[in-house]
């Protein structure tokens, strides 16, 4: 029997990634205007086409209105009060990791991200992004042997300008939405991946995003291109220090899969969520979209969202190629005063396309967790199928769980199935576990983990274990 007296709304475990790295940084002045954008572009020594891209996006952004349709409430963002470029000072261009500021390496070590190449056992190549710049990318030579390009987007702009010019903004156009336009105008760094034809990427690729400075926003951009018959698994992790101000994070991720290519994109998002009073935390407004351009191509999104004060994120798939596949597996956990409005869009354009959506939302404390999804069958999507499942778990009587699926079909020869349910942690199950000598909180954590199993099974090994622990940690003390 759940004892109501045990209900505690506060997560006691402190946010363990909340430290600040004391490092000299180069920042530009606050505010956003054409000169700032020119300055960012100049600092990054960008070609003209990119500056034009930024300026065009900025013009569009100025004409756009911040969206208000999401079930989110937050104080208005002052876009002129943000620093749009902040980078750790480095004396000269680094040629090897040994030259990276030890403080930075230490930071990433503390976060459990192996940047030193001795730690090869993990077999994951990492691109570490600190505030506005990428500071290191590991395993580059090994990857290069296979023809895989894995570097920061700034480097890609310099060394692979043709690919950037060809693909940047083709999946998420600058005018797509307010935050994508803002990102297109001011994006500072991010990762670039190119997998050539027929190559299966020999190791998992990973980006680690770290916000260090309290007054600068992070606007990274990721572009992954998988050529014909290639495949890659990409992991993304994020953390930030604890500040009592809100920091804006507006990222854009674009994935392109050509014929028979497959991209698996996994995220464990653990930005600082603010304290139990709702003070501080990251505002996370992210546009992630994949384009299954080729026949039989596949894009799979899996995400574990536990951080951020505000999450606004809808990783989507445009299924253009015949028999292409889109997948979305998500666990979103909110606690205290966190608010998450997340989900996916599966746009079936080509024939015989398939998509699967599995979304698990857990709301505890006074948080608000919404699933918002769109499944659309276009007129040419004959023989296409979609299956969606959205489950919500409510912990405590002050949290809210909402489900807003939009389903649209213009093709009779296609099938859409959607189901959603809401439940609480069953008292019978808890009682059973407790009667077997399992501690109350451990029992809850086991049940939450069981609830999320469908999604965790889709995560790469390292992430699945981490995600399990993360959820247990986040819920500690919040269940009664």
């Amino acid at each position: 029997m759940v004892n109501e007296n045990l209900v505690k709304d506060v997560v006691k475990e402190p946010y363990k990634y909340g430290f600040v790295t004391d490092i000299e940084t180069e920042k530009i002045e606050k505010g956003l205007n054409e000169d700032i954008i020119k300055l960012i572009s100049q600092k990054k020594e960008e070609p003209k086409f990119l500056l034009d891209f930024r300026l065009k996006a900025f013009k569009k952004w100025q004409k756009m209105k911040e969206p208000d349709w999401a079930a989110l409430g937050y104080k208005k963002i002052d876009y002129q009060d943000i620093i749009y470029y902040s980078a750790p000072k480095q004396k000269e261009k680094i040629s090897s990791l040994d030259e990276v500021d030890p403080k930075l390496l230490e930071t990433f070590d503390k976060l459990g991200i192996p940047l030193t190449e001795q730690k090869k056992l993990t077999n994951v190549a990492v691109d570490a992004v600190f505030d506005s710049v990428s500071i290191a990318t590991t395993f580059r030579e090994e990857l290069a042997e296979h023809g895989v390009i894995f570097c920061s987007i700034s480097e890609a702009v310099k060394n692979h300008a043709d690919l950037i010019e060809k693909y940047l903004g083709t999946v998420v156009p600058a005018s797509d939405n307010y935050f994508a336009a803002l990102n297109s105008a001011v994006f500072s760094d991010g990762s670039f991946v190119y997998i050539p034809k027929g190559v299966t990427c020999p190791m998992d690729l990973s980006s680690y995003f770290r916000i260090n400075s309290g007054d600068s926003g992070q606007f990274e951009r990721t572009l992954i291109i998988a050529e014909e018959s290639s495949s890659v698994s990409y992991l993304e992790g994020c953390t930030a220090p604890m500040f009592d101000t809100n920091t804006l994070h507006a990222a854009v991720v674009e994935l392109i899969a050509l014929d028979d290519a497959s991209i698996k994109y996994s995220t464990v998002q653990n930005w600082y969520a603010g304290d139990e009073e709702g003070i501080g935390g990251i505002f996370n407004f992210v546009t992630k979209r994949g384009k299954c351009l080729g026949k039989r191509s596949k894009i799979s999104w899996s995400q574990v969202e536990t951080g951020s004060a505000i999450t606004w994120k809808y990783p989507s798939c445009l299924l253009l190629g015949e028999e292409s596949i889109g997948e979305f597996y998500s666990v979103a956990l909110t606690n205290n005063l966190q608010q998450a409005d997340t989900g996916t869009k599966m746009i079936h354009i080509g024939p015989k396309t398939k998509s699967t959506i599995v979304s698990k939302g857990i709301s505890a404390g006074k948080s608000k967790n919404s699933y918002r999804g769109l499944v659309k069958m276009g007129t040419k999507a004959t023989g296409s199928r979609n299956y969606s499942q959205c489950d919500s778990m409510l912990i405590g009587d002050q949290a809210s769980a909402n489900t807003f699926p939009y389903i649209k079909s213009q093709q009779p020869n296609s099938e859409i199935e959607h189901e959603a349910s809401t439940c609480r942690i069953s008292e019978d199950q808890l009682f059973y576990l407790q009667s077997r000598g399992i501690e109350f909180e451990e029992a809850v954590s086991m049940m939450v983990s069981g609830f999320c199993r469908d999604v965790f099974n889709q995560l790469p090994m390292e992430f699945a274990a981490e995600a399990d622990k993360l959820l247990a940690l986040k819920l500690e003390g919040s269940v009664g």
């Binding site: 349709w69 069958m377 007129t379 919500s392 409510l394 912990i395 405590g396 009587d397 002050q398 949290a399 809210s400 769980a401 909402n402 489900t403 807003f404 699926p405 939009y406 389903i407 649209k408 079909s409 213009q410 093709q411 009779p412 020869n413 296609s414 099938e415 859409i416 199935e417 959607h418 189901e419 959603a420 349910s421 809401t422 439940c423 609480r424």
Partner: protein, 405 residues
């Protein structure tokens, strides 16, 4: 759009009732619903403006009930008929609400209205003249089934309002029929108040003709231990909206809804439902079916709202849709908004076409494709039709649906 002009200018007309004046005033600042609002986003603007294109004709043309002959045991009422209603039997009484009672209740309802959510009601109440508002207070037991008709005659726009108070421990079967003649617009608003322990089997059949339009809104308030069963069917309208708002004011009530909309040609029919649980132990079982053929468009949007107070709510919502043509489209959006934790809520949605395996099976048994499709459709329709009270035996609704173009 003469009506919108009238609203904008809001001429002080002595013939207007106080309610009409209040509603006109509310509409004045924005006489049309916001097309960006989620409830109106998918609604065809041209069809809505076509709805408003007809002029209001206060005089009712003669209305012949087109359906089977009145049987002795059924009470038949027509909204707009001037006759005074007072049916008193030893077991029951059906009386007209006094003007004060009507005004008080409607005014109270208006105070909760929101511009976009209740635009159809605001329009209805600002157009509905005294004669077209029927208010009934129903009391007692062993009440014969009641049929209430609303209609719009050709080339006119009619607004009709129905208010029903169902007293404690009362149990009725009520069928509401909305008929749209060729080139007509009908605005029908119904307000239902179910007192404790009362129960209704409510049927709504809206049946249009060529180019007829309908805005049908239904507001239900359920008190404790009441049961509200709704079976609805909307078909043959160029443009129709069915807006249902049900509030279980203190929980502990049961709601069952089975609705269906059938669209053909270039019709657009939509159903919007909002079910609020304002107390614990509420129950909802809802199924909405759509069938879209030719170039038509069927829309369903349902929201279930479970606030903190509504613990132990058990709610389920299912949207089942058949899309039969390449040019037709279906939009469906079931929604859950939940704050209470001890609840069982679920929803589901499917869009597909007729089951090919079943069709194949029937054809191997010598049934033609047309017949096999009809058989499948009839089972699809039957679930809803059998839930509509009174109609099932004598109205041949199934035949109408299957055999009319």
């Amino acid at each position: 759009m003469e009506i919108i002009e009238k609203i904008k200018t809001n001429k002080s007309d002595d013939n207007l009732t106080e309610i009409q004046k209040i509603c006109l005033h509310k509409l004045q600042s924005s006489p049309l619903p916001n097309p960006k609002n989620e409830l109106w986003r998918l609604s065809s603007k041209s069809k809505l403006s076509n709805f408003l294109d007809y002029s209001i004709n206060e005089k009712d043309s003669k209305f012949d009930i087109p359906f089977p002959k009145d049987s002795q045991s059924t009470i038949r009422l027509i909204i707009g008929d001037k006759c005074q209603i007072k049916l008193i039997d030893k077991n029951y009484s059906i009386q007209q609400l006094s003007e004060d009672e009507l005004q008080k209740y409607i005014k109270e309802q208006i105070s909760f209205f929101k511009q976009n959510e209740n635009w159809s009601d605001l329009l209805n109440l600002s157009l509905s003249c005294k004669n077209n508002i029927l208010g009934l207070k129903i009391n007692g037991s062993k009440i014969p089934p009641i049929e209430i008709f609303s209609h719009a005659s050709s080339n006119s726009l009619k607004a009709k309002t129905l208010v029903i108070f169902l007293e404690k421990n009362c149990d009725i079967e009520l069928l509401q029929v909305n008929l749209g003649k060729e080139n007509s617009s009908l605005s029908q608003s119904t307000f239902f108040c179910l007192r404790e322990n009362s129960s209704v089997n409510h049927g709504v059949v809206s049946y249009g003709e060529n180019r007829s339009n309908l805005l049908n809104s239904l507001n239900v308030i359920q008190q404790k231990n009441s049961t509200y069963n709704l079976g609805s069917l909307h078909f043959k309208f160029n443009y129709a909206r069915f807006e249902i708002s049900i509030k279980q004011s203190a929980g502990n009530a049961k709601t069952n809804i089975k609705g269906m909309q059938i669209t053909k040609k270039d019709e657009q029919i939509s159903t919007y439902t909002k079910i609020e649980f304002n107390g614990p132990n509420g129950f909802l079982d809802q199924i909405n079916k759509s069938l879209a053929d030719n170039k038509s468009h069927a829309i369903f949007e349902g929201s279930i709202i479970v606030p903190k107070i509504a613990q132990r709510t058990d709610a389920s919502q299912l949207s089942r849709n058949l899309l039969l043509s390449n040019l037709a489209q279906i939009d469906t959006k079931p929604q859950l908004e939940i704050i209470a934790d001890d609840v069982k809520c679920k929803h589901g949605a499917t869009i597909s076409q007729l089951n090919e395996e079943e069709l194949f099976y029937m054809r191997t048994r010598g049934i033609t494709l047309t017949q096999a499709s009809k058989l499948q459709l009839s089972s699809y329709f039957q679930e809803i039709i059998s839930f509509i009270p009174i109609s099932k035996d004598k109205w041949d609704l199934l035949d109408k649906l299957l055999n009319e173009d």
